[in-house]
Amino acid sequence: MDIPISHILFVSTALFFIGMYGLFTRRNMITMLMSIELILNSVNINFVVFNKYLYPEKLDGIFFTIFIITIAAAEAAVAIAIIINLYRSHRSIDVETAEEMKW
């Protein structure tokens, strides 16, 4: 492989911050969730890359990735359940509607 690791890390980091941007700006709860998925994916890339390039003797990164994916799924499921429930009560999934509690 003749791609410097920093380039791959550029991709993952960029992805991470793109996800973060989405989380900051998207007003729709589901899209916020998507952004989080992006963030997690960037982390996955990191783990795989580090494991493959730097510490090939063990499979820590790979396993971490697998578990992250699983957790991401569970998180998404619960989040969506909550969103649906919230949608029932708020009649909308716009974040701006969910700010009764403040100060």
């Binding site: 991470f16 996800g19 989380l23 709860m29 916020m32 969730l33 989080i36 963030i39 997690l40 960037s42 982390v43 990191n46 783990f47 580090f50 730097l54 510490y55 820590d60 990164g61 396993f63 971490f64 578990f67 992250i68 957790i71 569970a74 998180e75 619960v78 989040a79 359940a81 909550i82 969103i83 429930n85 919230l86 029932r88 009560s89 708020h90 969910a98 700010e99 009764e100 509690m101 403040k102 100060w103």
Partner: protein, 467 residues
Amino acid sequence: MNEFLLLMKQELVITLIIFILLFVKLGKEEMKNETLINFVNILLALNLASGFFLQQSGTLFGDMFRTSELFTLEKNLLNLGTLIISLQSYNWLKDHKHAPEFYILLLSTLLGMFFMISSNNLLMFYLALELSTIPLAALANFDLEKRRSSEAAFKMIISSAFSSGLLLFGISMLYGSTGTLSFTELPAHLDGNPLQIFSFILLIAGFGFKISAVPFHLWTADVYEGSPVSVTSYLYVISKGAILFVLVSVLYNAFAPLNESWYNMVFLISVLTMIIGNLFALRQENMKRFLAFSSIAQVGFILIGITGYSPEGSASVIFFVLIYIFSNLAAFGVINLISAETGRENMSDYKGFYQANKGLSWVLAIALFSLGGIPPTAGFFGKFFLLLAGAGRGNYLLITIAALNMVISLYYYLKVIKAMFMDANDNPIERVQAGWSPRLAMIICIGGIIITGLASGAYNYIYTLVK
């Protein structure tokens, strides 16, 4: 094999309870909530009792899991707290549709915390963290009809997902720069280069989010306010306590090489946390929200203890968490009862509270005194020792700030006392009759508040374990 049984006994028991509940749920005939609750309480009590003997220390699963008497103790404390909470939630839970699910989720988070305490590996830590977070988000939504409840749940899941994302990024960077995930190997690889510091800060942020330290605390108040009182008190005491235990051991062991830099970080964070927490708590009207901010301030104090970086430091932190469990749960016991019976949660509702509910007012008052650090309650000892531990590092600026913050915090605790005892109210809360189990919980808490401090046994025991 039986070693495995012994070392993981608490985790196993909890898992067992979870599965029993699962079968109860799936079983044909519905079990009455009352019996269920009492049943679970008994099981928890058994687990608590079992925690105190046959203590061993060792590691399992290729040092993924390690335990020691200290960890067992910490787990017992959490177990105790959970027991108290479940005793208190009786009034709320007895006519809730999803009592078994409540317990399943609650206990799975508790299990997560146990694993988190025992985790010897960033992977385990992360998984346990998520296990102790995600079901809580679901629990936050357990007042299914309340708008605020679901809003709270949403806020919690989103911000926890975000924070765990950052945490993960940090962990990955740490992995990238050290090549290991195990806490035991970590110190050898830490050389404090910028990337490690950065990833460490991300890690701290992850912790900070869970213990709601400034500036990672903003979700706290909203979530605490929205969720059902039992869940709030659980979030408030148990999950916070668990994370604190882990934080101490992680900082003191895994990140010992970086202690110079983390000392400064923790110092800064604790000062911010105390001040911001107090300033916000000053102006709160809703009891839960008010306690949320006060808890943030408390965390600031605990962080002082952590800065001590000494056996006294960790001992005082654990000791304080114990007291914190008692004091807060005593306070929440009353609030829980009142909100379950009358649905009133505002400070102004507590005006003239003393006229009808003498006992409850005294419980709340003692709890608040303990939180404010007034002798002879245990809170006084807790804070005193935390500050002593912090002073051990010779940072008297921190101590002075903390001491003055104690005064501010006293102000808002006294505000509640004032409302209860002094203010007049045209329709005060009428007499509330507490069932046996909330009453038992309160007795335990008050007993704890009074005894833990005056009798030095608890602290000495913890100290010997820490040593």
